[in-house]
């Protein structure tokens, strides 16, 4: 029983991290139909940047802030310089971002080498909390990640569906010409979406670098997690990302805990099963 509870907690807190990672991907796609396959490389870059800053300043928050902002700016540059011209050619954009991830992967390998890193947990959050009912305590930071994910989810939902800016964004995506005719600079709106999505993956990288060790190859791992999450949940939907993260996180952890050799196959079978019945994902809209 203790092990079941422990595995579940691991799974659901990991789901929190997956949500943070995949929300940027789905936000950009859902609003702009641009799929960024350099997402895993962005995550890893944010990990390296935040680790470096946190290591130098001994302050976790500075690392997270600089990591998020660096990625926000970097992502915006990639969008403006490489993607904007081809925004309506989905596959071409996906391919260009894969090229970006190739260049980034090698640049990071050249700078940081093949070692693995992990950022220190800030002192205020490094304690363990007792779990009611069983004789075990659980690291508070992982619970904190889950809380962060829930806050980000709520924030995104309110921003997109309840505010004026969210309304502009949704309108700009549905009918670009009409919205520009109303005097709104749609190009600027798109840049802000890309900034926000990249900022989110930057923040996810800073958080993930603290809960898990990272290094060469993590870009592919987290790209895979993000793809699994958005494919299962439905691309472009924040709620879908929440459901997808929960399934991939929790089922993935139980699989790793109980059938380590076949963990990959179990997650994969789940993906195939979902798609066999709902090709567009659980909450995805049909094209």
């Amino acid at each position: 029983m203790t092990q079941v509870i422990f595995t579940f907690l691991n799974g659901i807190t990991l789901a929190g991290l997956y949500f943070l990672v995949a929300s940027g991907l789905t936000l950009i796609f859902g609003l702009m139909r641009v799929i960024n396959l350099a997402h895993g490389a962005f995550y890893l870059l944010a990990g390296y940047v935040s680790w470096t800053i946190a290591d130098k300043t001994h302050n976790w928050l500075y690392g997270a802030l600089v990591g998020s902002l660096t990625l926000g700016v970097f992502g915006t540059l990639v969008y403006v310089l490489l993607l904007r011209k081809f925004q309506y050619e989905e596959l071409r954009v996906a391919l260009i971002t894969l090229g970006v991830s190739l260049v980034l992967a090698q640049a990071m390998l050249a700078i940081f080498g093949g070692e693995y890193y992990q950022t220190n947990i800030p002192k205020q959050l490094s304690h363990a909390i007792p779990i009611p009912g069983i004789q075990l305590s659980y690291p508070f930071f992982r619970i904190f990640v889950l809380i962060l994910a829930i806050l980000v989810a709520a924030g995104l939902w309110i921003f997109i569906s309840k505010t004026r800016y969210g309304a502009i964004i949704r309108a700009g995506v549905d009918d670009t010409d009409m919205v520009s005719a109303l005097g709104i600079n749609v190009q600027a709106v798109f840049i802000w979406i890309f900034f926000l999505g990249s900022l989110l993956v930057g923040f996810a990288g800073a958080v993930g670098a603290t809960t898990n060790s990272f290094g060469m190859g993590s870009d592919g791992d987290y790209l895979l997690f993000s793809l699994q999450v958005v494919i299962i949940g439905g691309l472009g939907s924040i709620g879908g990302v929440a459901i997808g993260s929960f399934l991939v996180g929790v089922i993935g952890q139980f699989a790793v805990g109980y059938f380590p050799t076949y963990a990959g196959i179990i997650t994969f079978t789940m993906l195939i099963l979902v798609l066999a019945f709902r090709p567009q994902g659980i909450l995805g809209r049909r094209e």
Binding site: L95, I96, S101, V103, I231, I272
Partner: protein, 318 residues
């Protein structure tokens, strides 16, 4: 038509004499020729799908990986003869195409692309985790070379000619399939699936046959990879390798069958040469890829057509 035939014949003629005319044959026959033919066959399986169904699949490395791992594990750890393991592995790789195809073909465009990428990355993470089966990231090493009818294929020239024969045979089969009524129906599905359905075609079986055929080509390339590299590890199906393959297809020209081999030859030569100048050749390949995508999305094979359109537009404007 005759012009392309002459071109094709001269390319094959050059490939035949290549081991005898190249400088430094020990290096170039293997790192240039055999490598290009192996990667070219994997890329061919991608081009075939893209050209005839308009679907860009990154799942080809999954089929190649499944086949390669089966051959490697059975020959190194269970002493199974290649005569048995190779056909069975190719069969297994092709059949896995039935399952993946059934799911993936329900999607289109960028979804199809993402799903097939996830399939390949899934095999990568499985190969890393399943230590007992795949030996994790060390992989399976020193896979013996095949000996067929007394010819030892550890010899680089023999292996090169074997690969050349496979590549030419598969290319001819693809060309033949495209000229049959099946191939023409496929193009119909690519251009307007709804219309084909209203014409009374059952499109799913057509798409399935094309997909499974391309996974057969990919499986054959998986065996070629095992014999060429003589080891297999998760990196053989990793993200970098997937992108490498995509670079080959796009740089060569994704809508041309020959583009697969043009791209493979170019990338094999490019990487072999640039390795001497910089250790960052992966990044250099990435930059090349981005530049081609931005300036010449039809790749090298499409560049003459692109120039012709450009000139025509210019003439029309003036």
């Amino acid at each position: 038509m005759t012009r392309t035939r002459i071109l094709l014949a001269s390319v094959i003629g050059f490939a035949l004499v290549f081991p005898y005319v190249t400088p430094d044959p020990d290096f170039w026959v293997s790192s240039g020729g055999s490598r290009a033919l192996w990667l070219g066959v994997t890329a061919l399986s991608m081009s075939f799908l893209n050209r005839n169904l308009g679907l860009m699949s990154l799942g080809q490395l999954f089929f190649a990986g499944v086949t390669g791992y089966i051959v490697a594990i059975s020959s190194v750890y269970h002493q199974v003869k290649f005569g048995v393991s190779v056909p069975l592995a190719i069969l297994a790789g092709t059949l896995s195409g039935v399952i993946i195809g059934y799911i993936a073909l329900k999607t289109k465009g960028v979804y199809f692309f993402m799903l097939t990428l996830a399939v390949t990355l899934g095999l990568y993470s499985f190969a890393n985790q399943a230590q007992e089966i795949t030996h994790g990231h060390t992989g399976i090493n020193s896979i013996p070379s095949p000996i067929i009818a007394g010819v030892d294929f550890s010899n680089t020239k023999s292996l090169y000619y074997l690969f050349l024969a496979i590549a030419v045979a598969l290319f001819v089969v693809c060309k033949f399939l495209e000229s049959t009524s099946f191939g023409i129906a496929l193009k119909g599905v690519r251009d307007n699936e709804d219309r084909m359905i209203s014409l009374g075609y059952r499109t799913m079986p057509l798409k399935m046959i094309a997909f499974v055929f391309s996974s057969l080509i990919a499986s054959i390339s998986g065996v070629m990879g095992v014999f060429y590299v003589t080891n297999i590890s998760p990196d053989s199906v990793g993200l970098l390798r997937s992108i490498d393959l995509l670079v080959i297809v796009v740089v060569g020209g994704a809508t041309y069958l020959g583009g697969a081999f043009v791209g493979a030859a170019l990338i094999a030569v490019f990487e072999a040469i640039i390795q001497d100048y910089t250790q960052y050749y992966v990044a250099a390949t990435g930059v090349l890829f981005i530049v081609v995508l931005m300036l010449a999305p039809q790749g090298l094979m499409g560049i003459t057509a692109q120039i012709r359109t450009y000139r025509a537009n210019k003439a029309g404007a003036s």
